[in-house]
């Protein structure tokens, strides 16, 4: 989608959502993002309740950018990666902190991509980039719409390159994402955010 390529500046948060098949994509992107980054990366993926810390540990090991273990009311600062803990919804507060919520599962999930995307859109508006990866349910589409309505940029993984194409396909069908990119392109896209 070279034709509508534009420079993204003043981005404060990049939020990435995914489900089945998204871990491999994250592992092809996050380790190649170089320090320092001028925005925060927040990751919301569906995961097993029993998977307490393995995703954090794996990404912390692989990534150059420091991974923060999200606890309630942790400050959201540029330069770090934050991962939504299992079994909580992840929300964004005006005070630029992250908060947690154990309310009912939505789309059979907790965390839910829609909930975090909507909440991030409300606080960060046009300073937000939302990226939706592989997955086999419809979570994320409502959240992508919310990001667009608030003036943020949306990116969907090219369904052809996704292990599970339902989630990206559903988002493309119901929203008009700014970009549809394969894995390498997503990496290049993130690297070009907030150029000096």
């Amino acid at each position: 989608m070279e034709e509508n390529k534009r420079i993204i500046k003043d981005c404060k948060v990049v939020i990435i959502g995914g489900s089945a098949g998204s871990l491999q994509v994250l592992l092809q992107i996050l380790p190649f993002i170089e320090n320092p980054i001028s925005f925060a990366i927040v990751i919301v993926v569906h995961r097993k309740q029993s998977d307490e810390q393995t995703l954090e540990a794996l990404l912390a090991l692989k990534s150059q950018v420091k991974v923060i273990d999200v606890e309630d009311k942790v400050a959201l600062k540029p330069g770090f990666i934050y991962i939504a803990p299992s079994n909580y919804h992840l929300l964004f507060e005006k005070e630029k902190t992250l908060s947690l919520d154990t309310s009912e599962k939505i789309n059979y999930s907790r965390p839910t991509i829609d909930v975090s995307f909507e909440s991030a859109a409300e606080i960060y508006g046009s300073a937000l980039v939302g990226i939706l990866l592989s997955g086999s349910n419809s979570d994320g589409t409502i959240g992508m719409k919310a990001i667009q309505n608030a003036g943020g940029i949306t990116v969907v993984q090219n369904p052809v390159s996704a292990e599970m194409s339902f989630m990206p396909n559903n988002a493309i069908l119901h929203t008009q994402p700014d970009y549809v990119l394969n894995t390498e392109e997503i990496l290049a896209f993130i690297k070009e955010i907030n150029p000096d």
Binding site: E52, V70, E71, D72, K73, P85, Y88, H89, L91, F92, E93, K94, S99, L100, D101, T102, S103, E104, V115, E118, S119, E122, I123
Partner: protein, 270 residues
Amino acid sequence: MIEDIELEALINDVYEYYGFDFGSYSRASLKRRVSRVFYLDGFKHFHEFLSKVRTDPEYCKRMIDEITVNVTEMFRDPSFYMTLRKDILPLLGTKPFIRIWHAGCSTGEEVYSMAIMLKELGLLHKSILYATDINAAVLETAKSGIFPLRMIKDYADNYRDSGGQEDFSDYYIANYGYAKFSEDLSEKMVFSQHNLVSDTSFNEFDLILCRNVLIYFDNNLQKRVVNLFDDSLAVLGFLALGTKETIKYSISPTKYKQFEREKIWRKIKE
């Protein structure tokens, strides 16, 4: 989603008309919860909703019951319960009497989990379990000890993963889609309404559990509540929070010592 200004108007009115103070609740979650009730109850305009809350105390009560999060389970986070069973409760067991407070107990699943462990450790007879919540409706469920049967398989798994070795089904009778837990377990429980925002300390405890409640409060209110727990905790008593909660922003770190890597802190001085 409702607007920020509407949420603030609601918070104001609920405080002014009924004395319940939601002013220090975390806004992101509260806004979602209020929006949920607003749409669930079929309102179209916020002023209608607001006027209903103002003029109908029964409706206001329902609204408050609906906005407070009451999702809980038995033996939630099995490794936490394993630590209680293996380390904390045996330590408390050396005392002649064990006083436990479940603050924000919701429908009581954690209180029954505690009673099961105390019973298996031979400590239930000398324990007392205070269980409190802001929400009167959930306390009625907690008192009854009746939980949906569809959850029981997960609870039995959690029980086993937390070190339980008995037959979990011995603790309840299944009927009409519900599991009723044995009254032997609830004998030592005292249920009462208590609001962490405005009420004070009412006893001294050896163990206070308040799991996934502080996440709904802002930093100031968290501070107040942790200090309320401090006032209610005997020296060498334990405070247990949810797996993503911390006391580190709320109280002097020299007063409490964290127990290994669990979200359990021991009060080491007055």
